[in-house]
C-alpha cells in the first residue's frame, strides 16, 4: 500500500519534548514523516499519543525542541498561516465531534469551516448550491452512506456517524488526516471497515494519514508503518513485519492477556 514515489518530508520532529505544567508527556521525539505516508500510532493510554497528534497540527507548541511542519518551524507560523495550515489538516476525534442536530450534508459542509468566511459558511449551511450538494452526495457515496444525505445526524447508528466524520474530512480536502482513536468505541468488524475506508480515502486524496489506535492487530494488518509510543518515548518505529513480539510486549509492559484479546 505504500507509495514509494513521495519522499518530501511533511513533519520533522527534532528532539521534541513536551511537558504539561512540568509533567513530561513526550520526551525527546526524533522522527520524520513524509507526505503521503500512512502511519498507525500505538501505545497504552496516557503514553502521549494525543499530545503527539496535537503537536502535528500545531494545537500545542512543544515546550522543548522543534517541529518542522512542511519545512517550516512550527513556532514561526503567523496566526494567519497557522489558520491556513490547520484548515489543511483534518481531524477525526474519538467522539467524532459531529453536530447532532444538523442533517448529514450540513455536517459534511462543516469540514470546510476553516476555508470559508463567515457569510460563505452561513450560505453553504442553509442555502447550498446544487453543485455543492452533488459534491457532498458523491463524497457520501465514497463512504457508502449516500442514502443518508438528508438524515438528521442524531438518528444515525454509530458506524454511520463515523462515516459522516470521514466524509467531513474528505470535504475538507486535507493534505493530512489525523485520527485520534476513532474506532475505540465500536465492534471489531466496524473498526476494521472504518480503518480500511480511511486508508482508501488517504490513498485517493494523496493525503498523509496518522491514526492512533488501541487495537494492535488492526495496526499490524493495515498500516505500512507503525510508531509505538511508551511513556512519552518512541519505543519502535518500523514496518509491521520488523516488529518483534518482544517489542510489542514491552510496549504494553507485558500484558499477555491483553495482546491475546486484541489479536
Amino acid at each position: 500500500m505504500t507509495k514509494p514515489a513521495q519522499k518530501k518530508a511533511a513533519f520533522v520532529f527534532e528532539e521534541v519534548k513536551h511537558c504539561y505544567s512540568g509533567v513530561p508527556a513526550l520526551e525527546k521525539i526524533d522522527l520524520k514523516i513524509n507526505e503521503g505516508e500512512k502511519i498507525a500510532i500505538v501505545g497504552p493510554s496516557g503514553s502521549g499519543k494525543s499530545t503527539f497528534l496535537n503537536i502535528i497540527n500545531a494545537s500545542i507548541q512543544p515546550t522543548h525542541g522543534n517541529i518542522k511542519i512542511f519545512g517550516k518551524d512550527s513556532h514561526l507560523y503567523s496566526p494567519k498561516e497557522l489558520k491556513a495550515l490547520r484548515s489543511n489538516i483534518s481531524l477525526i476525534p474519538q467522539n467524532l465531534a459531529l453536530v447532532n442536530s444538523f442533517r448529514v450534508w450540513q455536517n459534511v459542509i462543516t469540514g470546510g469551516i476553516g476555508h470559508y468566511g463567515f457569510l460563505k459558511l452561513i450560505k453553504n449551511l442553509f442555502a447550498p448550491s446544487k453543485n455543492k450538494l452533488a459534491d457532498i452526495h458523491s463524497i457520501l457515496e465514497r463512504v457508502g452512506i449516500e442514502e443518508k444525505l438528508y438524515s438528521i445526524t442524531s438518528t444515525l447508528s454509530g458506524g454511520q456517524k463515523q462515516r459522516v466524520a470521514v466524509a467531513r474530512s474528505i470535504f475538507q480536502s486535507p493534505s493530512t488526516i489525523l485520527a485520534d482513536e476513532p474506532v475505540s468505541s465500536v465492534d471489531p468488524a466496524r473498526a476494521a471497515s472504518l480503518v480500511k475506508i480511511l486508508l482508501k480515502v488517504a490513498e485517493e486524496e494523496e493525503a498523509t494519514l496518522l491514526m492512533s489506535l488501541h487495537n494492535l492487530d488492526l495496526a499490524m494488518r493495515h498500516f505500512p508503518r507503525i510508531i509505538g509510543i511508551r511513556n512519552g518515548n518512541v519505543h519502535f518505529d518500523q514496518s509491521p513485519d520488523q516488529i518483534s513480539q518482544s517489542q510489542l510486549e514491552e510496549l504494553y509492559e507485558l500484558k499477555e492477556s491483553e495482546i491475546l484479546q486484541d489479536g
Binding site: 497540527n57 489558520k83 490547520r86 476525534p93 465531534a97 453536530v99 442536530s101 469551516i113 459558511l121 442524531s154
Partner: protein, 293 residues
Amino acid sequence: MAKKNITSLPSPNVSPLIGKRRSVLFWISLITIICGFLIGLKPNNLFSNNSLKLATEFFKASISPAIDYENPVEGTEPFLKVVAESILVTLKFAILAMSVSVPAGAILAFLSTTAWWPEDIKSTTKKSLLRTLHIIARSWIAFARSIHELIWGIIFITAMGLSTEAAIVAVTIPFSGILAKIYAEIFEEHSKEAQRMFRAIGAGYFVSFLVGIIPSALPDIISYTFYRLECALRTAAVFGFVGIETIGYRIKLSSDEFHYQEVWTYLYALFITIALLEWWGGKIRVSLNNKHV
C-alpha cells in the same frame, strides 16, 4: 394490600427521615414558623366568620361562571366578546414583550458567557477587555433581574406616562436578563467537542461557537423560551392592574363591582389559554427531543 416485612429491603438510603434529612426538614419548619410569627400571621384571621362567608360567596361563583354581564348596561359590547378580546390583548402584550426580550436576552447571553472565548488568548489587552465586558454584562443581568417587572413598570410609567411602549420596556428589562442568564447556562453546559474540533481545523472562535454550540443548544433554548412565554402571559395579565387593558384590567373591573361570576369567566379564560400554550410547548419539546435522542 397486606403489609409485609420491609426490613429485608435493600439500600440504607430508603428510610424516609433519618439523620440529616430529618434535621433539614425540622430547621426549615422551625424557621418558617418563626417567620409566620414575625410577619403576624394569625390562624384566627384566616378563619374569621366574615372571611369564610366571603370565601363561600367567591367560590360558589366558580361553579357558574358568567356568560353575560351580571348587570348588563345598554350599548356595551357583548360580554364574551370582551373576554375574547381581553385574551387577545394579553397574548399580544406577551408576544410583543417576548419578541423584544428574546433578541436582547440572546445578545446579553453572548456577552456574559465565556463559552465562545478563545482558550488561548495571548494579548492581555484583549483578555482584560473580554473580562470587563463579561463582568459588566453579568452585573447588569443580576441587577435587571433583581427588580420586579412591575416595579420597572412603575418607574417607566411614572417617567413616560402610561403607554404600551413603557410597559413593554419595563417587562423586557428583567425578562431579557432572566433569558440571558439561562441561555448562558445552557451554552456553558453543552458539550464543547464540535467547537474544539472546528477550532483545530482552522475556524475562528466566533464561527466555532456559532456552529459548534448553538445548533445543539437550540432545543433547550426553545423549550425554556416557551416556558418564559407562559410567564410573559401571566405578567401581561398583571399589567392590567396598572392600566394596560389586558385580562387583569377586566378582572379588576369586575371584581370591584363584586361580579364574581364574571371574574371566574376571566380566570377560566386565562387558565385555558395557558393550558393550551403549555400543551403546545409540550408537543414542541417532544418533537425536538425525538430528533435528538
